[in-house]
Symmetry: C2
Subunit: 402 residues, 2 copies
């Protein structure tokens, strides 16, 4: 029997306790041993819960109990998750986390401490909820020359964009609908400004490159500027708009970003609708593989957390995730990133566009001028946009093409 402690008895913590209880047979067969949830740490009491007698409020009880083999940190936020994790690892306990914020900020440090202490730090649930992403990237894909990892990493924004496409909703209406369904928080900023996706692409980038880029070095745009007119334009082009996290691996470093992109229907990611998430890995010789599923929710997230526990029970230190190093120098200046871009503007004419951008393909649009540029760097696009703006032309939208 192994003893575990769960830090945080919210949606995910409850899901983990339920999974271990409800799927006792599956879990014991796979892990090769029974699991005892010895403690659940929370500020609150849960007198009506079947786990009421495990609930404690003092972390030191867990940290100082030598019987605790693995600590499951599902509290969210950087602090005290950081302090609790460091202490548990130093005391020789494995730690499993679903907390993308703490992984993106301190994952490199945790993995170093885990290695020194001869224990595991795992965090499958921190990216893509229940979708197996981290394990297959390490176990099945890293022998490839990986050129990019990218994904739809936030279900809330994907739901909003799907609503805008399927029902022609405005951004504001789609957001209100997402809030009414409980998909978006009352303060939705972490989702709609791309902050959540930014943490996840930092983690994914580190997994494929070994280099953890600080989130403040990641070019991050949300979906708040995506307009109904852009949706119409994308539809005319046979495209969809998705908020992507992308980490493009080049010999010189990483282009790492979160932004809305227009995708053709050829792209596997263009099919990912509603609150679903997906992560695509591109490399040689594998070409491209994609992992798809529910990116959040108690059950799926708990599945990923318990999956990590199973791996630790089966393989111990053998299942350790390769150490990543924090390295802000590995992020290349976004100015050099090249792609085609969709631009919509008010005023001006295609002549001004040609003057500023060279070749560009006009798109029919009501009351505005819209066009696709050739492949240009961000710096080139910025310069061309400034040129238009200096003529009093207003740029309404600017969305990159995948």
């Amino acid at each position: 029997m192994i003893n575990i402690a769960i830090l945080g008895f919210g949606v995910v913590g409850g899901g983990v306790a339920d999974l271990i209880t409800n799927n006792k047979k599956e879990v014991e067969e796979l892990g090769g041993d029974s699991i005892n949830i010895k403690y659940i740490l929370d500020l609150r009491d849960f007198p009506d819960s079947p786990f009421a007698d495990r609930v404690i409020h003092d972390y030191s009880v867990i940290a100082n109990d030598p019987e605790i083999d693995t600590v499951i940190e599902v509290m969210g936020g950087s602090h005290p998750a950081y302090e609790f994790t460091v202490e548990a690892l130093r005391k020789g306990k494995n730690v499993i986390s679903s907390n993308k914020e703490v992984v993106a900020n301190f994952g490199d440090e945790f993995m170093r401490i885990a290695e020194e202490a001869g224990v595991c730090y795992r965090f499958e649930a921190a990216v893509g909820g229940g979708i197996p992403v981290l394990s297959p990237i390490i176990s099945c894909v890293r022998q490839n020359k990986i050129t990019e990892v990218r994904g739809i990493l936030n279900g809330t924004t994907n739901y909003i964009l799907t609503k805008m496409f399927t029902f022609g909703d405005s951004f504001d209406n789609a957001l209100a609908d997402a809030q009414a369904r409980g998909y978006a928080e009352r303060n939705p900023d972490a989702d709609i400004l791309g902050i959540d996706a930014c943490r996840k692409i930092a983690i994914l980038g580190a997994l494929v490159s070994g280099r953890l880029v600080p989130t403040d070095k990641i070019h991050t745009e949300g979906i708040t500027k995506v307009r109904h007119e852009d949706v119409i334009a994308a539809e005319k082009l046979g495209m969809k708009i998705k908020l992507l996290g992308r980490c493009v691996v080049t010999p010189d470093g990483l282009y790492i970003m979160v932004a809305p992109f227009m995708l053709t229907s050829d792209s596997a990611l263009s099919c990912v609708s509603g609150v679903y998430n997906a992560v695509e890995v591109v490399g040689e010789p594998i070409k491209s593989v994609m992992f798809y599923g529910p990116g959040a929710g108690a059950g799926p997230t708990a599945s990923a957390v318990v999956g990590d526990l199973m791996e630790i029970m089966r393989s111990g230190r053998n299942c350790a995730i390769p150490v990543m190093v924090k390295d802000e120098g590995s992020a290349l200046s976004f100015d050099g990133f090249k792609c085609r871009t969709y631009i919509a503007m008010k005023g001006g004419c295609m002549g001004c566009v040609a003057d500023a951008f060279g070749e560009a393909k006009a798109i029919s649009a009501d009351g505005e001028i819209a066009f696709l540029t050739e492949e240009m760097s961000e710096a080139e696009i910025n310069a061309a946009v400034s040129k238009l703006e200096s003529k009093g032309i207003e740029i309404l939208s600017r969305i990159r093409l995948l």
Copy 2:
């Protein structure tokens, strides 16, 4: 340094040798050691290959060389792959296979022998080509109560069905096109009759249930009876037709099958086009996850083979796949399998349909009567169809709904 031997220097064997050579840095970092391709077994010589000096024709050299750590069997077919595998495992060598035929027929035996010998038998490439499927199912999903594993397991048939949908091709034209592009063999039976997909669903079913159903106990239909009219009817219903392998896990046993199914656009599998494959796992509490990518080809398949080698180098016996048991008794009679069914017929009327099927929903169709049944068992559908046929009505198509 570890020494390996590759059995079969065809498309996949060549891909494996290329990957180990071209991605030397990635492979050595991940595996923690260098890899020497000591032998390549083939009937032919390859004087112009950079590996010409490793090519041998006598398997006993490999079997009797104690330096060989791992044998990579990418020859295809049941024999002599079976004999070579048994001998290698008994002599304490790990074996990796991409050969779905030999895995579906003898996988249980190989895994037993591997366990006795304290070595690994792995076969990620046998299902879904380069897509990580087997590893994530074992490492990340098996803690769930799995109720079904299903997938688009054959790229050739998916290409043909995609052509029939996108371009309105007849089956014969789409097949000819697939042959012209090299996606289908000159003798395409293994693909179009569902034989290839049948082997893969046998393997997937064994991974989620531990029970390997002999392929001759799996209800197997190909796509040869899918008509242009059925494609039109599916489109009217907002559906697609896909050849699915399905293993439905019930408390009493497995419903395991390969057949064309109609899928609504809600189904993640309905988006999988062309030669791509995908495997979906359904369970509690994970809901559903899907793995997607190129189901064949030298590079992707080699990626999966080398991924298995990496796992063995990193984890040894710890990465062993749980043993499966051959068990024909676990396959339930297909008569009891329940689903809705689309039926098209010539002659008769909706009155006869109601008489035979009870409730049924008519679909508009040119020159024929088409309808969807309520959920009924195969036995009930068979009886109702017989009733219509006894009245001289010809059944033109019968396709189940997912």
